[in-house]
Symmetry: C2
Subunit: 142 residues, 2 copies
Amino acid sequence: MPDPEVRFDELIAALKERSFRLTPQRVELVRLISASEGHPSAAQLFAKIKTQFPTMSHATVYKTLALLKEMKQVLEIDLRDDSHYDGNRPYPHPHMICLQCSKILDGDMDLDPSSIKKLERTSGFQIIRPQITFYGLCPDCR
Amino acid sequence: MPDPEVRFDELIAALKERSFRLTPQRVELVRLISASEGHPSAAQLFAKIKTQFPTMSHATVYKTLALLKEMKQVLEIDLRDDSHYDGNRPYPHPHMICLQCSKILDGDMDLDPSSIKKLERTSGFQIIRPQITFYGLCPDCR
DNA sequence: CTAACTGCAAAAACTTTGCACTTTT
DNA sequence: AAAAGTGCAAAGTTTTTGCAGTTAG
C-alpha cells in the first residue's frame, strides 16, 4: 500500500487540479479512503464521517465516490451486497474476500497477458476492464 | 454449451433425487435456464414465465434460484445491478460482459494453477471460489 | 458573488420475508 | 393427509434524485 499521506496528497491535488471544491466532508472522505487498510463500503464511510460531521448525508458520500471513481482515483469493487472502494490502488487488481469475516485483501497476481490475448483472439471480445475476485478464507479465519 | 435437453433432464433428475417437488413453475424455470444461450437475470426469468403462468411471483423465482444454487446446479453471476444465472456450466468460469449491450458471454480461460498456488502461499489466503469477469466490447459492438 | 456542494427526504430498483392458500407426492 | 411450494404484498437494502439552502473559491 502506498503511504497514506502521500496518497491523500495525490487525491487532494487531483481534485484541486480539476477545480473541484475541497469541502470538509470531502476532505475527510478522501482522508479515510487514503488511509484505510481495508476497502470500505459507502455505508462504512458514511458511518465514520458521521461521527465528525453529524449532518453528513448518504448523498454526499455517493456523489463524492462517484466523482473519485470518474476521476479514476478509486476503484469500485462491486460485491453481492454493496460496493466497496479501493482508494490506494485505483487500477484493476484481484481481491480476496473472506467468506467468514468478509475482510477484503488485495491480491498480488497478474493475469497472464498471453492468455488474455488468446481469449480476445478466439472470442472476438475486446477486454477493457478485468475484475477478479477470489472468495475463500483469510489467514485469520482458516 | 451442453445439449439443452440433456441439461434439462439432469436438473430435473437432481431435483427429484433430493425429493424436491416438480411444480409447473419450477419445471418451466429449469427449462428456461437449461436452454438459455444467454445468462438470464431473475427479472428476465420472471417475465418469461409470467407469460405462461400469469400468477408467477418474484418469490418463486428467487426461491427456486436459491434452491438450484444451493444444489450447485446453477452459477450465480453477481453484477452491479442484479444477478444473472448460468444453468449450463454451474462451476466457476470467466464471463465477458459487454459494456455496450450488456450481453454476457462465457470465457474459455483457465487461471494458471501455479499462479493461484503462489498467491495462496504468499498471502496465506485459501481460495475457494474464483470469480472472473471481463468488462469490454463484444464482437457485435466493437 | 456564483457555481458547486451538501443535506434531507422521497424515490428507485432488486431481493427477501411472512403467512395463508394451494398442490405435489 | 402432510409436507412442500406458490403468491401476494409488504418490508428491507443499497443507491439515486430533486431541490432548497449553504459554502468554497
